[in-house]
């Protein structure tokens, strides 16, 4: 009996270890702050500006990602052409790129001394050390999360169904907007949430490419880092906000997808 029971025991222990390891640090964020200190820290002007900036930049980045990413993902999911696999791989690359590399790469490409730097400066576009640079950094690191998910969502739709819409006289644009997007909505939503989560937590690329300045480029993760050495309570308070927001994003997706939760998204 004992010999037969070792495997269920092993997997139970593995799950318990994973659960404790993953939840303990998150619990500590709250155990370390008293609600009063949390409210105090969040009341400071620096914290509020960081929260507002994060809200603004992530919203902008997500809007860009959805507007460009949805039709792009639709094309990748519904067409077969030479080089398609290469394109899919290329646009997924930022997914596995270390954030610091993303920051350096953005500087090399669109920084003032970068490939397109002179052209952008000539056109009056300033990205480094500017809020626009934060949006560029967030869009760069977060868009592959949406593209991948949206492509999978469109790919899972029944082709015959889309073809039927078109043969019955609807234009392709109409088929895309009225049939494909609503049908793929749960997957698109999940992709948007993943991208939002990644953008909200962005740190390295933002610091290297856009710098850190209160109200301009210092998003919540950068404000946490700025406080870490001298104001640990303030860092914990902002961390607590990010934990709550991230949990809310996750929960919203789970609810939107019904009892299935993120099960489909994981496919």
């Amino acid at each position: 009996m004992i010999r037969r029971a070792w495997f269920p025991g092993l997997i139970t222990v593995a799950l318990a270890a994973a659960l404790i390891f993953l939840t303990l640090p998150i619990a500590a964020v709250f155990l370390e702050t008293s609600p009063g200190a949390l409210v105090d820290s969040l009341g400071s002007q620096g914290a509020q500006e960081a929260l507002w900036l994060s809200l603004k930049t992530t919203t902008l980045a997500l809007t860009i990602i959805v507007l460009v990413g949805t039709p792009a993902a639709y094309l990748l999911a519904t067409r077969r052409f030479r080089g398609r696999a290469a394109i899919v791989t290329l646009i997924e690359l930022p997914l596995v790129l270390p954030p610091a590399v993303a920051g350096i790469a953005l500087l090399a490409a669109v920084g003032p001394a970068g490939l397109l730097g002179r052209g952008l400066a000539g056109a009056g576009v300033e990205l480094a050390l500017a809020t626009a640079g934060v949006v560029v950094a967030l869009t760069f690191v977060a868009s592959p999360f949406y593209l991948r998910q949206a492509q999978a969502a469109f790919g899972a739709l029944d082709r015959a169904w889309l073809d039927a819409s078109r043969t019955s006289g609807a234009s392709e644009a109409r088929t895309f907007l009225r049939i494909a997007v609503p049908a793929a909505a749960p997957g698109l939503l999940a992709g948007g949430a993943l991208a939002l989560g990644r953008a909200l937590g962005e740190f390295g690329a933002t610091l290297i490419f856009a710098g850190s300045f209160q109200g301009i480029t210092q998003t919540v993760p950068l404000a946490i880092y700025d406080r870490f050495a001298t104001d640990f309570d303030g860092a914990l308070a902002l961390s607590a906000v990010l934990v709550v927001v991230s949990a809310a994003i996750l929960l919203a997706v789970k609810l939107a997808r019904g009892p299935d939760g993120l099960g489909i998204a994981a496919r």
Binding site: L24, A28, E32, L107, A128, L129, G211, D226, F228
Partner: protein
């Protein structure tokens, strides 16, 4: 266990994981030299990187960051053997908290205004006009507090004019240098030794004597250091041994006074 205790445990796990990842050779089977971990201010990067490989008593592992972040790590229970900061205030504070031994001053540095080599900026006064983008260290890191010391000596009006041009507050001096070498910023306050390290890409605009703060570097052996003897030997090397030459070559001065 208190909440702080849990965080400490998490920090130690994180630090040991980082240690595993950072290890390059891990030592061959017959290699029994102890490993000495030195947490040092970002501005010491070149000097210590060049003089540490020849250290006799141990294999030196260097960890560079803002002095304040390294101090915060020590407060959270991370234990390097040696802590070398870009001021004396942080090691003295850690000493009072019973976390490190008595700090000793081992080098001095100067603050300069760094600009790209072809910059038209010639003096701090040029920063008081609108236009130049200035990068400085965040207030919590030594380079940032020295910079604020310089600005306060300029007088309120001029200091405000310079601060109005500040576009980034970087977590350490490396960040300021990076923004300058990439043309993202037009000027930044850094240590003279940092400009030497850019190989001519940046030019140092010297500050008038009346603005110059005293920049003294303090070093201390961390209490409970895994390698206390090697740590003490390393500190001696910094003060009067082999590393003094590397420090001098990197643009540092002797201890002030």
């Amino acid at each position: 266990m208190t909440g702080r205790g849990w965080v400490l445990a998490a920090g130690v796990v994180a630090a040991s994981l980082a240690g595993c990842g950072g290890g390059q050779d891990g030592g061959s089977a017959g290699d029994e030299r102890p490993r000495l971990v030195v947490s040092a201010a970002a501005s010491l990067n070149d000097a210590l990187t060049s003089c540490s490989p020849g250290f006799d008593a141990a294999d030196v592992r260097l960890s560079f960051a803002g002095s304040d972040e390294l101090a915060a790590q020590i407060r959270q229970g991370v234990e390097p053997d040696v802590y070398a900061a870009a001021n004396t205030k942080l090691p003295e504070a850690l000493n009072e908290e019973g976390l490190v031994g008595r700090p000793r001053v081992f080098a001095s540095n100067e603050l300069v205004l760094a600009v790209p080599a072809d910059s038209p900026i010639r003096s701090v006064d040029d920063l008081t006009r609108p236009g130049p983008k200035v990068a400085i260290g965040s207030a919590s890191v030594p380079i940032g507090s020295y910079t604020r010391e310089v600005l306060s000596r300029l007088g309120d009006r001029q200091a405000e004019a310079v601060l109005a041009n500040v576009r980034s507050e970087e977590p350490d001096v490396t960040g300021v240098i990076g923004k300058l070498t990439q043309d993202a910023a037009d000027a930044g306050f850094v240590y003279a030794s940092d400009v030497d390290a850019t190989g001519g890409r940046l030019r140092a605009v010297e500050l008038p004597r009346r603005l110059q703060p005293t920049v003294a570097y303090g070093v201390a052996v961390v209490d409970g250091a895994p390698q206390p003897e090697a740590a003490r030997a390393y500190v001696e090397d910094l003060i009067s041994g082999r590393c003094t030459q590397a420090l001098e070559q990197a643009g540092f001065g002797p201890p002030p006074g």
